[in-house]
Amino acid sequence: MTNEAWAPYVPSVQMPWDLRRVVHLHRRAGFAATWKELQRDLKDGPGPSIDRLLDGKSRTDGMPKDFAATADYLVSSAAGDLGRLKAWWVYRMLFGSDPLGERLTLMWHNHFATSAAKVGPMVRRQNQIFREFARAPFGELLTRVVRDPALLLWLDAQANRKGKPNENLARELMELFTLGIGQYGEKDVKEAARALTGWTVVKDRLQEDPAQHDGGDKTILGRTGSWKGDDLLRFLLDHPATAERLAVRLCEWLMGEGAVAAGGIKALAAWLRRRNLEIGGAVETILRSKAFFSDANLGTRILGPVEYVVGAARALELFDPSPNTLILAEFCGNLGMDLFHPPNVGGWPGGRSWISTRSTIGRYNFASALLDGDSVGLPGAVDALGFARRHGRGDSVESIVIFFAELLLGAVPGRAWVERQLAALGPKEAVEPSRARRIAALVLASPETQLA
């Protein structure tokens, strides 16, 4: 990477490797981390910490020994029950060894937004493709996702036949999955749809029906020939705009809305083009960059509902017993991100749209419910005081406030912030379990915690 924007991060006096940056790394690239994991990374420095995330080895706490077998059992038992499928995914995010992989899976779910409202439990296989090819060269992912029945049926591919083309799939392929708006014309869409004619789904598999394929010449993005669906995918992957769109997507997901200037995007896009659109490498570039750890990039991205909900459970080490994953998924839905049900083919708008009066109250309610325990399926209230004391804090109300701020934010946002929390807690000084719970809920629900 030659561009200054993606120069690697090297700890310095101005940009030290401190708890704040460790928390930042985990909340951006995963779903928060436990106190022990944070302390480990603080000690080991950025290199090993980022390596572990990239390799899917960042977690040490709350990992069931039989995670893979249990996850398989949960997904196979879910069958067509979408509630159970959501619970399974939350289980993976909460207990799996690869939080970055799950974050990227979530990103692709948003990129190729396909709703179970139309295609039902087919989203399960699509989700597994997202996970398996999350870091792969984008071409591999695109080819598999586009040839998977969930997306084909979602975008009515089966209605796209010779002489009666249906443009849904072709249009979204260009506009949303690869090039982005403004990079193609209406005629390209029509011709691309012709190239895709004959793609249909039989017995849950793509089948190319030669009888329904329009074999005539098409001109797509300036190239003329009797193109087929795979030719179209090739053209789209070759097009420079695709790399740029991917660069935007990755930056939005890991850096936040508009966080990266045009130059940075172009540099990342150029890198992607040179490296066969390899997503894993681009992610690594971002995570290792100075830009990623710059002061200006800390605490600026609004957490999505899933990151918020799963992250809270992980940071508080609610593993055994853990909150019910079905209920966590329900909270994610109530906060605006109903897994497997994106609002439309454009996905969730994200960013500032996550925050509204309703969702702010919703996040507070979730924080209270999580700490109270019963309502999320825990056998009782969370022992927040014991938790703080296990990590050497909890002598005073203030020390508990500071502990949760460090755990969730990496640093206390300022003395005034502490005072505000103390004021909200009332004049009583005694350190009691219920008070510690209240503190944890307050910090979880505070505006600063909604940012990462």
Binding site: Y73, V119, M122, D156, V201, I327
Partner: protein, 961 residues
């Protein structure tokens, strides 16, 4: 609008479309598109629109998911092949529901005992075992009765309840005025309810709706795709194997051939065809379906040990239940797994009447099996029951609650054995225990994969045998710290149903088979893993509305408000404590929960129901209730002529103009009144008691099944003079009148004390008579039809058949002034006779039976070539109800086209009907040649060669109504 704006709007619209791609093209147009152009999209839209309903119907009849899917595919294949036969192109759903129902029954018969138990479909969650036991049967009865309704009533019911259309949408689709639709919907509902009542079926509104199901079941896209591809391939004559299973294709082909061979009388065909398919005869025109089913059925396949014999060498029945006047004897023997007599087995008997369960009845849960005896050294047992002491297990109104006896043998170290004996007969099967060498083991885990310790795992029943039918093992167990459980006592090669419950998990029903040999190797464990979601608690207090005091002993049921299908219906129960408090546990998370509240026995309070919405997380939902005080009523049924009490049941209806109607009517179910939730039957003391609403109501009384010779109710002129019919003029509950034997209009003020009265049944006139032959000699051994049949049956139900012990007969329940046909057949002597009576006859009757006539002939086509394999059926002349009811004669033409039909009534006009030919793609017509056919007594008339016009049915023929 600028082009940019326009683009944005179009973009938006496209996206909306992707979310919900709903078309409003009428069925008619879609069907036309498919018929004329083989339009794939049109067919796909039909599948998408009606597929959920079809899948729901299939699942209602079939246990097995694969079978249900096969039938689903076969149904749409039939549509593809016979689209031109849809008589109401605006209501394809109705047509499809009939085909799906029929095919599902056929599939069920074909698959027989084949079980694929541990499949996803079967992991249902039901905490009320009785619901589990009957829900599927209930669904089937509903579907069956629905198919029997006249089309004009069936169509709106299917659209509004099975397919989930609004009344407005349904009216539009059918091209009816909205008021017409509403009226027909109401009348259809009323008829359906009446039919169900007549079958002794009574259900809570919510359960009813769930049982019938609606279309919100999700239809996998792959199903749609496969159905469409198969349809197109079928239409093009291509191989279907790529798209649907071989079985689905075969099923569809056979159905297309047999179902549509006649003249498009789909409904009649469906109803009748069911019987033929079950008996496997391949011909449907036997009207004796119900009457001729075997008296005893087999619970297990018989195996080798030779049966004991009497002195005369005739085999003794393995188990027999014998009527000995005022007592019943049960005897038999118990065998061990090797077929040797087993001593020391405990025998119990469970009695069932015909009819349906009222699982909400407080007594229901207290019914235990009757302890019999222990088998002796020779494995034999014998014991007696006083008839008077037998309490009907199902609390039905039956005067003879021993319609079915289930005899169960259990012994330590063995799995139980059982046989069912129908109507005091013999069992063909052996009471042979099985080895208890396969234990059920498993693990209960939550959605986080963590073990659920302390969950209760109860054995609920075996496939074919409810747990209530015997006492003893297997017992319940609880899971250990690792969530593991182990249950033995079921025995090998049994299908078992377990209920898993716990304070923090949803209650689940688990099906497991204890197969001894798996993949060729013996095993001693049947493992079944259980994954349990969390439970959403519901709690509250029930109080009396008038006093505000808490009510103890009130039952609260919760039924997940699931319109999807029966597999997702769940029901849990709680009872209020002394403080009126209850807490329901076991419900899974759901969008909403339907609660029904039943006042305790002896409380003068009315039941109520409410739907509550879900709340976030697992925090308990609070739902308090106040019960309104009602008016206790106590009454009995009396035979008007003899003054003798009669057992029976009632249908209680609240007048639409009753001020409390809105409060009493609950739920979106097909049955509007929650009063229908109860089946109210005669108690042991001969009375029926319940708590009525104040204000105008009606009680429609139906005699028990054993005494249906009473006349249908007639409206009292005094009521009519006051403008009661018996309820308000347009009240659709009035429809129950003609399906009941007596009624009473009641209108009590609030807070009235207990009301006592009688409802009188009129047993009508009884006539006696004798049968003689042409020489005035007595005729013995004849079969009589119409002597005592239920005067208020559904039209498709055959009249009771009676084998006369000698030459005399007794006809009961005749309505003076109303003509009725009594018919008789003596097959050995080939005699037939009938008499039309009107109940005013003063003298003993003499029916002169005469030798029946015979018709022969030969069917040829227009070039004189014989038509073979054509079904020729006899139609008797029209006579007053129930008409000439011996089974219609029917024959197939032989290789020369010849047929022979016996059993003609001498000197009356008959008709021969060519029902279907061997060629499925033709219709047959002989003009008027086969009408008005008459023979003399004993005459055999040869009709000679009959020219039959064979008309091919063009595939694209279109019949618009």
């Amino acid at each position: 609008m600028s082009s940019a704006q326009l683009g944005a709007v179009l973009q938006h619209l496209r996206r909306m479309k992707a979310v919900q791609n709903q078309s409003v093209t009428p069925d008619r147009e879609l069907l036309k598109g498919f018929l004329l152009r083989r339009d794939e999209a049109a067919f796909a839209e039909l599948v998408r629109r009606h597929g959920p309903m079809v899948l729901n119907v299939c699942r209602g009849v079939l246990h097995n998911q694969h079978d249900a899917e096969d039938v689903f595919q076969a149904t749409f294949l039939v549509l593809a092949q016979k689209a031109e036969r849809v008589r109401q192109p605006d209501a394809v759903g109705s047509w499809l529901s009939g085909v799906a129902y029929h095919l599902a029954l056929k599939m069920r018969t074909a698959t027989g005992r084949r079980r694929r138990s541990e499949e996803q479909l079967e992991e249902r969650t039901v905490a009320d075992p009785l619901l589990d036991m009957t829900l599927r049967e209930l669904h089937q009865v509903l579907l069956e009765e629905l198919q029997r309704l006249p089309e004009k009533y069936r169509l709106p019911l299917i659209l509004c309840y099975l397919e989930g259309r609004t009344q407005r949408q349904a009216a539009k689709q059918l091209g009816w005025d909205k008021e017409v639709l509403r009226g027909r919907l109401n009348r259809g509902r009323s008829q359906l309810r009446a039919r169900l009542t007549r079958r002794g079926l009574s259900l809570p509104a919510g359960v009813f709706a769930s049982a019938l199901g609606s279309s919100s079941v999700s239809l996998p896209a792959a199903h749609i795709e496969a159905a469409v591809k198969a349809a197109l391939a079928s239409a093009a004559g291509q191989d279907l194997g790529k798209f649907v299973s071989e079985y689905a294709a075969a099923l569809a082909n056979e159905a297309a051939r047999t179902l549509f061979a006649g003249h498009g009388k789909i409904v009649a065909l469906l109803v009748l065809a069911v019987g033929a398919l079950i008996t496997g005869a391949g011909l449907w025109a036997r009207h004796q379906l119900a009457a001729e089913t075997p008296a005893a059925r087999v619970a297990q396949p018989a195996d080798k040990p030779s049966p004991p014999k009497t002195n005369s060498g005739k085999p003794l029945p393995e188990v027999a239940v014998e009527d000995q006047g005022d007592r019943i004897e049960v005897r038999g023997r118990v065998l061990d797994p090797d077929g040797k007599p087993l001593a020391g087995a405990a025998i119990t008997v469970w009695w069932h009447s015909r009819g349906w369960v009222c699982w909400h009845h407080p007594d229901m849960h207290s019914v235990r099996p009757y302890r019999g005896a222990t088998s002796g050294l020779d494995g034999r047992f014998r014991f007696h029951f006083a008839k008077a002491a037998i309490k009907d297990t199902y609390l039905n109104a039956d005067a003879r609650p021993w319609h079915r006896a289930t005899i169960v043998a259990v012994a330590p170290g063995y799995g139980p054995a059982w046989v069912h004996v129908w109507d005091l007969g013999n069992a063909n099967a052996k009471l042979q225990l099985v080895k208890d060498d396969v234990a059920i083991v498993g693990r209960v885990r939550d959605l986080q994969g963590q073990p659920v310790a302390g969950a209760m795992v109860r054995f609920r029943r075996l496939h074919g045998l409810d747990r209530d039918a015997w006492e003893g093992p297997p017992a319940a167990t609880t899971t250990d710290e690792q969530g593991r459980y182990r249950l033995s006592g079921v025995g090998r090669d049994r299908g078992a149903v377990l209920i898993v419950s716990g304070p923090r998990i949803e209650s689940k029903i688990i099906h497991v088979e204890t197969q001894r040999i798996v993949r060729g190797k013996p095993v001693n464990e049947a493992a079944i893993e259980v994954l349990a979601g969390p439970t959403k608690p519901i709690e509250g207090t029930v109080r009396a509305k008038d006093t505000g005091k808490p009510l103890a002993g009130v039952s609260i049921y919760c039924n997940e408000h699931s319109f999807c299908n029966t597999h997702q219906v769940r029901l849990v129960r709680a009872v209020t404590d002394d403080n009126g408090h209850y807490r329901l546990l076991g419900m899974p998370k759901s969008a909403q929960y339907e609660l029904t509240v039943y006042a305790g026995a002896g409380q003068s309070y009315l039941d109520t129901a409410r739907t509550v919405a879900d709340s976030e997380g697992l925090k308990p939902i609070a739902a308090d209730f106040s019960l309104r005080r009602g008016v206790p009523v106590k009454f009995r049924f009396l035979d008007k002529r003899t003054g003798q009490p009669v057992r029976g049941q009632i249908q209680y209806e609240i007048a639409q103009d009753n001020p409390w109607y809105a409060e009493a009517v609950y739920g979106p179910g097909i049955i509007p009144s929650r009063e229908f939730m109860h089946i109210r039957t005669t108690n042991q003391d001969g009375y029926i008691r319940f708590v009525s609403y104040p204000g105008p109501c009606a009680i429609f009384a139906v005699a028990g099944r054993e005494s249906r010779h009473f006349l249908p109710s007639k409206l009292d002129p005094a009521d009519e003079a006051k403008g009661r019919f018996p309820l308000g003029k347009d009240d659709f509950a009035n429809g129950f009148l003609r399906h009941s034997h007596g009624y009473r209009y009641i209108d009590y003020p609030e807070n009235a004390r207990e009301q006592t009265f009688d409802i009188l049944f009129d047993s009508g006139v009884t006539l006696k008579g004798a049968l003689v032959d042409p020489n005035a000699k007595p005729v013995q051994g004849a079969v009589a039809y119409g002597l005592s049949f239920d005067r208020t049956p559904p039209p498709t139900q055959p009249p009771d058949k009676e084998v006369l012990p000698d030459d005399s007969f007794v006809a009961r329940g005749l309505d003076p002034g109303k003509a009725c046909t009594l018919s008789f057949v003596q097959r050995e002597r080939k005699l037939i006779g009938h008499m039309v009576v009107d109940g005013n006859e003063k003298q003993s009757l003499t029916v002169r039976m005469r030798p029946w006539g015979v018709l022969t002939g030969r069917l040829v086509n227009i070039v004189g070539k014989p038509l073979t394999g054509v079904s020729v059926a006899l139609r008797y002349p029209d006579l007053p109800s129930p008409g000439m009811r011996p089974p219609a004669e029917e024959a197939l033409t032989d290789k020369d086209g010849r047929f022979r039909i016996e059993g003609l009534l001498p000197d009356f006009d008959h008709e021969l009907v060519l029902e279907h030919g061997s060629n499925k793609d033709v219709t047959l017509s002989a003009g008027t040649v086969l009408k008005k056919l008459k023979t003399g007594a004993g005459e055999m008339k040869d009709l000679g060669d009959i020219g039959v016009l064979v008309v091919p049915v063009p595939k694209t023929e279109k019949k618009d109504d």
